[in-house]
């Protein structure tokens, strides 16, 4: 049985709302960097066992999945690993958005490098804003490791291998970023460590209690 069953609808709603707030922060930061408005949609939140995540992605994305991925660990009472997955094509779109605003590339910097740097930067912004905001509202403070770019193609099997070490549940957040010029979407997965889940449930309850 998934531990997700142990989270009530109200607790899930609270986490969705916290994520919504986190993405709002991320959008503001992104829009400043690329000077484009980012239109947010309602984030989708699911609580899955780690091994269920690849199937979820398969169901959500109609394509032979190949991703660019940024991985970043965070530490605090709220502790775990975050993965930002962008379908490979989305990474290129984002790089072009950044590239369009930037000066011409130095000759030694290849287009692939720009894409990699763009995806890492976006991952850093989104992960930092979301995890940081959730932690802040839940009265925690998290530290981050430097984001790590995982070279494409990240396919289903490599994702399964990475998630295999996670013993507990994955909080799966999906959001779609609509930029003014084109739609770009990606997935953010937060895989909370086993030890932090009990804290999170208690912190969410405390947060809910503070609203009464």
């Amino acid at each position: 049985m998934s531990l997700g069953c142990e989270l009530s609808d109200l607790q899930l709603d609270a986490l969705r709302e916290l994520m919504n707030i986190g993405f709002g922060q991320a959008a503001a930061a992104l829009s400043e960097v690329i000077d484009l408005r980012v239109i947010l949609t309602v984030p989708k939140i699911l609580v899955l066992k780690p091994e269920e995540v690849p199937a979820f992605i398969d169901a959500e994305v109609e394509m032979p999945s190949s991703f660019s991925m940024v991985e970043q660990f965070f530490f605090g009472h709220f502790e775990g690993t975050s993965f930002l997955l962008l379908p490979e094509e989305e990474g290129r779109k984002l790089a072009s958005l950044f590239g369009a605003e930037a000066a011409p590339l130095p000759p030694e910097l290849e287009t692939g490098s720009l894409e990699r740097e763009t995806v890492v930067e976006i991952g850093n912004i989104i992960i930092g804003a979301c995890v940081g905001k959730i932690a802040e509202i839940l009265k925690d403070q998290v530290a981050f490791q430097a984001p790590r770019f995982i070279e494409a193609p990240v396919d289903r099997s490599s994702l399964e291998r990475r998630l295999a070490g996670a013993k507990d549940l994955a909080l799966v957040f999906k959001t779609v970023f609509h930029f003014e010029r084109q739609d770009v979407f990606g997935f953010l997965f937060l895989v909370a460590s086993e030890g932090s889940l009990e804290w999170m449930r208690a912190a969410v309850d405390e947060y809910l209690g503070s609203l009464a």
């Binding site: 709302e17 707030i21 709002g24 829009s31 509202i137 809910l208 009464a212």
Partner: protein, 125 residues
């Protein structure tokens, strides 16, 4: 009669947050979980004095709901409560006639000051 408030947000938690702040400062509270439901309430003659409106909702979004309320019920003040704090979004919201913008998570003092102002008890900014 009294001062009537409507809170519109798809998140029950977000509605709870606003409700918890304003419950002792208003005379009547109603809730709606979507823009469509809010418009139904207004069309049914339950016109509030102040609406707290989320922007990011499934179905009819907050901007569309804001436009509809301002167009059909111009005397109703609409305070947008949003996590989307981009300058362009705030400019659009204000251009659509929002009375005020409250940033999520809602700050208690800011919400109470807004209610007070909307009731005509406080000085306009």
């Amino acid at each position: 009669m009294g001062f009537k408030v409507l809170i519109v947000d798809d998140s029950m938690v977000a509605r709870l947050a606003i409700k918890g702040i304003v419950k002792d400062s208003v005379d009547s509270l109603a809730e709606a979980s979507s823009g469509e439901a809010a418009l139904d309430l207004l069309a049914g003659g339950r016109e509030p004095d102040l609406v707290f409106l989320d922007l990011t909702m499934p179905g009819m979004g907050g901007i569309e709901a804001l436009k509809a309320i301002r167009s059909g019920h111009p005397s109703v003040k609409v305070a947008v409560v949003t996590a989307d704090i981009q300058a362009r979004t705030l400019a659009e919201v204000r251009a659509c006639g929002a009375y005020e913008v409250i940033r999520k998570p809602a700050d208690r003092a800011a919400v109470l000051a807004l209610v007070s102002r909307a009731r005509g008890e406080g000085a306009a900014p």
